[in-house]
């Protein structure tokens, strides 16, 4: 049994302009100790899926259908009081911008200790020592002093380390990391990535790593789910996806990762942009941008061999494409 399994999740936003189906039938699962990368453009619904798992969807949005099972228990639309007990304790989340995720007017110690106190009773002193150790574990120098500091006294990378330390405080079974390295410098990105990899390995935590940049997770994730316009278009092992992407969109993504291109050739691009969320095509949502589009694509909405493309078997092999 998987640690987290999402099945046909529907998270919709009921706006005055119409219903935005931000997540429209997404299914994926993560096991303990497994790293799943969810890749997609902004607006593809990858973050909303993460927030749905956390029960952090706010009106006008709500989970309109499907199921989210965590450790065998249904948690979609769980009452807030019960959801609160899971959040930060068994499922933790890390957000994109470390400048924004820590409260600017509260000391780091306050923000750490409250996370423990929200879930178990522990003396202040004991909690403090625990938090200090957690800071040390994520590689923050002289944690004793830094506990008393305010967020603005840390650099961006250090703040993200603090956020990671907070996420790990209660030894969660699952961490959802929503582009935690996007806002950081490249060298810091690598450090944070390495740190996360090491920490989840040590604790055997399941990790959902949401990103728009496939190259970030290439050497790190076990499996990859590619999202497009509220749907998952392809799921595969990381190696499988990188060496042999099958869905036309995945192919485009791989093509647009610089390292795969031979020096001197033009970087491949996916023409156009994602469809507006209120006005998506009926059939294949990627069809308008697809290089392999044919008659019938506009009506097709089916999954063949884990790939949301009805013609996946007919598509030319990868080598032919790049040639």
């Amino acid at each position: 049994m998987s640690l987290l399994s999402i099945d046909n999740l529907q998270t919709h936003f009921f706006t005055s302009a119409g219903v935005v189906k931000a997540v429209d039938g997404v299914s994926y699962s993560v096991d303990r100790g497994e790293v799943l990368a969810v890749v997609g453009e902004s607006g593809s619904g990858k973050s909303v899926t993460g927030l749905s798992v956390m029960g952090l969807i706010e009106p006008p949005g709500r989970i309109a259908g499907g199921s989210i099972r965590f450790d065998g228990k249904e948690i979609a639309n769980l009452p807030q009081a019960q959801m609160r007990k899971l959040r930060g304790a068994r499922i933790a989340m890390i957000f994109q911008d470390p400048m924004m995720t820590l409260n600017p007017v509260l000391r780091v110690e306050t923000q750490m200790i409250e996370t423990i106190k929200a879930h178990r009773s522990m003396s202040w002193n004991k909690a403090w020592a625990h938090c200090r150790d957690a800071l040390g574990r994520v590689g923050i120098p002289s944690p004793d002093e830094r506990m008393r500091a305010y967020p603005h006294q840390f650099s961006g990378g250090m703040r993200q380390r603090v956020a990671i330390a907070i996420a790990l405080l209660n030894k969660p079974d699952l961490i959802i990391a929503d582009e935690p390295t996007t806002a950081l410098d490249v060298t810091i990105q690598a450090q944070i990535l390495h740190l996360m990899q090491q920490l989840v390995e040590e604790d055997g935590t399941g990790l959902v790593w949401i990103t728009h940049d496939l190259s970030v997770v290439a050497g790190f994730a076990d499996r990859v789910a590619v999202m497009y316009a509220g749907e998952i278009v392809e799921q595969a092992t990381t190696d499988g996806l990188i060496t042999a992407p099958r869905h036309p969109y995945s192919r485009g993504l791989i093509g647009s990762v610089p390292s795969r291109n031979v020096r001197g050739t033009r970087l491949a691009q996916i023409p156009g942009g994602p469809p507006p969320p209120l006005n998506r095509p009926d059939g294949c949502r990627f069809a308008p941008r697809c290089t392999f589009r044919k008659q019938g694509c506009e009506a097709a909405q089916e999954i063949r061999d884990d790939v949301r493309c009805w013609r996946v078997a007919d598509l030319p092999a990868l080598e032919e494409v790049s040639a």
């Binding site: 959040r87 930060g88 933790a92 957000f95 994109q96 924004m100 995720t101 409260n103 007017v105 929200a118």
Partner: protein
């Protein structure tokens, strides 16, 4: 420390400038001799009085004498009460301060919860009602609000007294109407009257602050940590919206003391404001001058305090100071 010293020096400079302006204003208008002297006095008596008051000296000398006296706490005697003007004002100050204090408490204690509620439940009927009320509180002139309060609570309902300070109780060496029931009843209407404008302001600030802060990532992160809604609102949200509100409250304390002039006149509250209005009507110039200087000092001290308080609440400000 450097920051505090610099602020103190600015304050002293401002006090000097204001004392000069006040003196120049008074100097340029009117002739105190004409008020002080018996109309049938001889020319010799007149000249003697002028010399005695130092009015024959050049402007700058007079100013320095005035300044010297003020520094020694001597503002001259009230024409009406024939007592030191400063003494009169200091005697009335507690009544004004307690009124202003009560109003601030009302404005903050009611304003923050109402504003936060309006911000959290944006678009709800309750929120709209609160905002409509606050707009009304802004638009209705203070003195007319006072009359309406009197009409409703004293004349029609007959619940509350409308004039005077009532019994003054003593607690820990402080005399105040806050410590007796009768005193509180007398204070209720004037304090509410003085509070309404600022209540409206606090509501607006708390509401816009709440709407801004609750969309921040750190609130979402706080939720993701599994914190209770109560802790998120009471600690994470409140601490952030408190910064502009504290500034406002600090700044407005001076404004409250100024606006107390209106409230005190209407409710016959024996404070500084009523004294100044009476003194203006009676042309009691030393009291007017002394009031002015005292008010200016209060303002300068308040501004200083607000700045210091600000740096206590917002840690980022202290950092800027270190950088400088």
């Amino acid at each position: 420390m450097v920051y505090i010293i610099r602020r103190l020096m600015q304050a002293v400079f401002l006090a000097l400038v204001m004392s000069f302006l006040v003196f120049a204003g008074i100097f340029s208008v009117g002739d105190p001799v004409a008020i002080l002297i018996d109309p049938e006095a001889t020319q010799a008596e007149r000249v003697r009085l002028v010399a005695q008051l130092g009015l024959d000296r050049p402007f700058h000398e007079q100013y320095f004498i005035f300044l010297g006296n003020v520094l020694q706490g001597d503002f001259g005697n009230s024409f009406v009460y024939n007592r030191p003007a400063l003494e009169l004002i200091l005697e009335r100050m507690p009544a004004t301060l307690e009124l202003a204090f009560a109003s601030i408490v009302i404005a903050v204690v009611l304003g923050i919860p109402l504003g936060v509620y309006a911000g959290l439940r944006h678009g709800s009927v309750g929120s709209k009602t609160i905002m409509a009320g606050s707009i009304l509180g802004f638009s209705v002139p203070n003195f007319w609000q006072a009359i309406m309060l009197i009409l409703i609570f004293a004349v029609i309902l007959g619940w509350l007294p409308v004039s005077g300070r009532g019994e003054v109780g003593q607690f820990m060496g402080i005399h105040s109407s806050l410590f007796t029931l009768n005193g509180l009843k007398h204070m209720a209407l004037p304090a509410i009257n003085l509070a309404i404008g600022h209540l409206a302001l606090v509501i607006r600030l708390a509401r816009s602050g709440t709407r801004e802060v609750r969309a921040q990532d750190y609130i979402r992160f706080a939720r993701a940590k599994g914190l209770s809604e109560k802790r998120i609102v009471m600690v994470h949200l409140l601490r952030n919206i408190l910064i502009p509100i504290v500034t406002l409250v600090g700044m407005s304390f001076g404004g409250l003391i100024a606006f107390a002039v209106v409230t005190e006149s209407i409710f016959a509250w024996p404070g500084m404001g009523k004294l100044i209005i009476d003194s203006i009507h009676l042309l009691d110039r030393p009291v007017v001058v002394a009031y002015l200087i005292v008010i200016v000092m209060i303002f300068i001290i308040l501004n200083l305090l607000v700045d210091l308080l600000y740096s206590l609440i917002d840690p980022r400000i202290r950092l800027d100071e270190v950088r400088q």
